[in-house]
């Protein structure tokens, strides 16, 4: 049994419980134990633009909490991954450690910070995951969306490839679904500018929605609650602004993986998806029936 601390952040536990639920259920299937972090707070990312130092300290406090548990930590949100990784790296810096100690924090054990999906790819591996796939989703065409802080900046993560990312594609393909090859795979969802200029943010998210639409994709697969806000919650706004009808479901990766494991709709929280993934259900169930 593999054991990790799970860092939920702000958005996931109150706005994207289906992401959390599916991640936990998928983890269980893969013999992974996820441990809660008592006292965990916001990762600090929302304050980075105001004061990087304050943001880093808030992140470092969370790292400190994980450190007491003697575990490595996995995250569900790309921004949390970035912020915690940054703080973890900063803890090697003498000046930062001083400040860290000054606010009464300690770091007794080295902590490795990774996105939940990266952990699946690195620690479980495509081959092991493949063994758990009981219901290959062969008819589905998926647009994988990596989001910005999953593999960028390279200097911080040293994982996958910033220019030609492939891990999420591989993880989508292992479910039996087709992972669409498309230009601008690395494009930002626009989430970070939503608070500054909504029109711009919607224009940015529309870019990938239109690619998914033109290619007849069944769903966009996301691994970050911010990106999902842009593609799912704001899809109507993009449709209105650009006079289009998309209706493209946005799944969290663990939801897709869960379906391929044969988990039922409730176990992956499908009913909480705002854009109803009816085609997904149809195609995955059809598959189910044929294979049974």
């Amino acid at each position: 049994m593999r054991k990790y601390a799970i860092f939920l952040g702000c958005t996931v536990p109150v706005r994207a419980q289906h992401y959390e639920l599916s991640a936990r259920n998928v983890a269980r299937q893969l013999n992974i134990e996820l441990t809660e972090i008592p006292g965990a707070s916001c990762c600090g990312f929302p304050l980075k633009a105001v004061d990087a130092q304050t943001a880093l300290l808030i992140a470092a406090r969370n790292i400190s909490l994980v450190s007491q548990l003697k575990l490595d930590v996995v995250t569900l949100c790309n921004s949390c991954t970035a912020m915690l990784s940054d703080a973890q790296a900063q803890l090697k810096n003498e000046d930062f450690r001083k400040e860290f100690k000054h606010v009464g924090l300690s770091y007794p054990n080295e902590v490795k910070v990774r996105h939940f999906v990266r952990m699946l790819y690195e620690d479980i591996g495509i081959d092991e995951i493949k063994k758990a796939v009981k219901n290959p989703l062969r008819q589905l065409k998926i647009v994988p969306h990596y989001g910005c802080h999953y593999m960028r900046p390279t200097e911080l993560y040293g994982f996958d490839s910033a220019e030609v990312p492939h891990t999420l594609d591989e993880l989508v393909r292992v479910t039996g679904a087709e992972s669409l090859e498309y230009t601008d795979k690395k494009m930002c969802c626009g989430g970070s500018v939503l608070g500054v200029d909504e029109e711009l943010a919607i224009t940015m998210s529309n870019h990938k929605l239109s690619i998914a639409h033109e290619n007849g994709a069944d769903a966009i697969v996301s691994i970050c609650p911010f990106c999902t806000v842009m593609y799912e919650d704001n899809q109507r706004k993009a449709e209105a602004k650009f006079n289009k009808q998309y209706g493209i479901p946005v799944l969290y990766y663990p939801q897709l993986l869960g379906l391929s494991f044969g988990l039922d709709n409730n176990a992956v929280g499908l009913k909480f998806n705002r854009i109803k993934p009816d085609t997904i259900l149809e195609k995955s169930t059809a598959q189910n029936q044929r294979s049974s």
């Binding site: 490839s161 220019e163 030609v164 090859e181 498309y182 230009t183 601008d184």
Partner: protein, 649 residues
């Protein structure tokens, strides 16, 4: 003891910061100092004569010059001291420019204080200088030239013509190097093959040049005037009887991409590198020959009318003795696959500039290798000025070769749309700016903006470039038929190997380090070893040829008199203190120290010819037995004492 102290103003470089009056006054107070003078330019004729006359008039026996770095003018003053009849090693230099007035320009008082200290330190050392003398050694006229691209060819021909005995070693099967692959040369548009091939032909025609192709230097030991070289001559599996009739090639079943043609055409496993190769003889590529790999086939041997194919050929070691060495190992083009955003290697419509050179040659000769298409874009600085891939330097040639290739394309077909995306356009050489203007007139469009990415349409295969035109301040996203990556230069495998075999120093970019960037641009820190061409750093053909001739002439300067002077700054072992532990032997980079039994005791012995005076052994010696002339321990102690302001003893 009578010491003369000379303070240089360096035309204001020093005197605008350091208070010369205070400095000379302080020097006058020091013991044994007989004369103190200052001059606007100590290195000038006037300055030098001051020293010369004072030595004679005041019978000076130690000289201290406070001026620039000894690297710069040390030799100038040592020559004067020697001319006056003294040992050149009773001279010291206090560097009050690079180590004082330049870095401390904004703190004149402290700088003056530091200058006084530096002079005191030099005086402390000078008082303990020994009258060392240079020895002279006989030297012959044999030169090893490593690498036979245009640099090595030029150096070898100059030396051969001057009557020196040249051994020219090339790792490839032919001489000619990268220049042989080029279409035309900028800015004059000479046909590269047409101007290179006669020079290549001159090499075997020169009676003083012995050529080794398909060969590498494996080991070099010894020193200036006495280098011992081992050359590894790799087998070509074709002997001297080959007349290049080509019968074998027709029967060879292997087809692989031709490296010389950048993969645009195929070649066989038995082949001639290209049509003007020297030597013009077939060779077998052992990694692709079916017979050499599996023992089957052998078609070439069967059909050869001259019995020239010899599968039993083995590598041969050739031992040579030479007096000087010229390294002309050149460069490799940057491997564009490292730059993933540009899609080279995965997208067939993205090629390198070297492939474009070959395409233009083929087009001109009426045997097109592939469709170039209507819209062509050049991307500059691929592998240059890029810290993401670790190459900070500018490759110097790409701006102009892209200017050349783009206008050759445009002139051949005015309907083509040709664009060059650049970071900065550097047209610095003679005739370059004019050539750049001509390209603009021809209709090539130059866009200032580094290309961020090249994307491939998975259906059509067409490529889209994304960049910002920084002058128009607009994003450009545009489709092209062909994208040409203007790849930069990297220190080639040959250069890396030469650096290792010859234990040479490298510059930050990995190219070979010259002894002085301005005054010794083709010398190295290894006596008798010279560098030229792109092994030293990126440069174009005229600069390469100039450096090659310079390297030849610097080598001739050493060899021509038949004798040369040896620096006496070598290690010296106090045999009473030496325990024979051999630490010095293990740290010596020049294999100049050995231990031997003397009077029943193991002691270290220094070969003064091999010793370069680097000081490694003196620093490592646990008993203080190993010291270095001109830097004896008592001198170093006195210098430290003076720096710390201790009273003179």
């Amino acid at each position: 003891m009578k010491i003369g102290v000379y303070v240089c103003h360096c035309g204001g470089n020093i005197s605008e910061v350091v208070d010369i009056k205070k400095l000379t006054a302080s020097a006058e107070q020091q013991s044994e100092v007989a004369v103190v003078r200052d001059n606007a330019h100590m290195c000038s004729d006037v300055g030098r004569n001051l020293v010369l006359e004072d030595i004679k008039k005041h019978k000076l026996d130690r000289i201290v010059v406070a001026a620039c770095s000894p690297q710069f003018h040390g030799k100038t003053f040592m020559d004067i001291v020697e001319k006056a009849g003294l040992s050149p090693y009773v001279f010291e230099m206090a560097n009050i420019r690079e180590q004082c007035s330049w870095p401390h320009f904004n703190e004149p008082d402290l700088a003056t204080k530091k200058a006084k200290d530096l002079v005191s330190v030099a005086l402390a050392k000078a008082r303990l200088d020994e009258s060392l003398s240079r020895k002279t050694m006989p030297i012959g006229k044999r030169v090893l030239v490593v690498g036979a691209g245009i640099a090595g060819i030029q150096a070898a021909l100059d030396l051969g013509d001057a009557g020196f005995e040249v051994y020219l070693v090339e790792k490839e099967a032919t001489i000619g190097g990268k220049m042989a692959q080029l279409s035309r040369t900028f800015p004059t548009e000479d046909c590269a093959a047409c101007i290179l091939s006669p020079k290549m032909a001159d090499v075997p025609a020169n009676p003083n040049i012995t050529l080794f192709t398909n060969s590498e230097i494996e080991k070099v030991s010894g020193f200036l005037g006495n280098f011992e070289v081992i050359i590894n001559k790799k087998p070509t599996y074709v002997n001297d009887q080959c007349v290049a009739c080509g019968v074998c090639e027709e029967k060879c079943p292997v087809k692989i991409p031709n490296e010389f043609e950048q993969g645009l055409t195929n070649r066989r496993a038995i082949y001639v590198p290209f049509e003007f190769a020297v030597p013009y003889r077939y060779l077998i590529d052992e990694s692709n020959c079916i017979y050499l790999k599996k023992g089957k086939c052998g078609n070439c041997k069967k059909v050869c009318p001259h019995d020239a194919v010899d599968f039993d050929q083995k590598a041969e070691k050739v031992e040579l003795k030479v007096d000087t060495i010229i390294v002309a190992t050149g460069y490799d083009i940057f491997d564009a696959k490292e730059k993933k955003v540009y899609g080279f290697g995965t997208n067939k419509n993205v090629i390198t500039s070297l492939a474009m050179e070959r395409m233009i040659v083929h087009e001109a000769e009426g045997r097109a290798t592939r469709e170039i298409g209507k819209r062509v874009a050049f991307i500059q600085c691929v592998g240059s000025r890029d810290e993401q891939i670790g190459n900070e330097y500018c490759s110097r040639i790409c701006c102009m070769y892209a200017t050349k290739l783009s206008q050759l394309l445009k002139r051949a077909d005015p309907k083509k749309d040709v664009y060059v995306f650049y970071t900065d356009l550097r047209a610095f050489g003679k005739g370059f700016e004019e050539y750049y203007k001509r390209a603009q007139k021809t209709g090539v469009k130059f866009i200032r903006g580094r290309v961020a990415e090249v994307n491939e349409d998975s259906k059509t295969g067409r490529v889209t470039i994304k960049a910002e035109d920084t002058l128009a301040r607009q994003i450009i996203e545009s489709e092209f038929d062909l994208v040409v990556l203007s790849v930069g230069m990297t220190p080639g495998a040959g250069t890396r190997q030469a650096a290792e075999v010859l234990r040479m120093t490298k510059s930050p970019g990995g190219f070979l380090q010259e002894a002085h960037p301005k005054f010794k641009p083709v010398d190295t820190l290894n006596d008798g070893v010279f560098i030229c061409g792109c092994a030293q750093g990126p440069k174009d053909i005229p600069d390469t040829v100039a450096q090659a001739s310079a390297a030849a002439s610097r080598a001739i300067r050493l060899m021509n008199k038949g004798v040369y002077a040896v620096e006496p700054i070598t290690a010296v072992v106090d045999e009473d203190l030496c325990s024979g532990c051999g630490t010095c032997v293990s740290v010596c980079p020049y294999e100049a120290v050995k231990t031997e039994i003397k009077d029943d005791k193991r002691v270290a012995k220094v070969n003064e010819m091999l010793c370069q005076g680097c000081g490694s052994c003196s620093a490592a010696c646990p008993s203080g037995a190993s010291q270095q002339h001109w830097f004896m321990n008592k001198q170093l102690k006195a210098m430290v004492g003076a720096a710390l302001g201790e009273e003179e003893k």
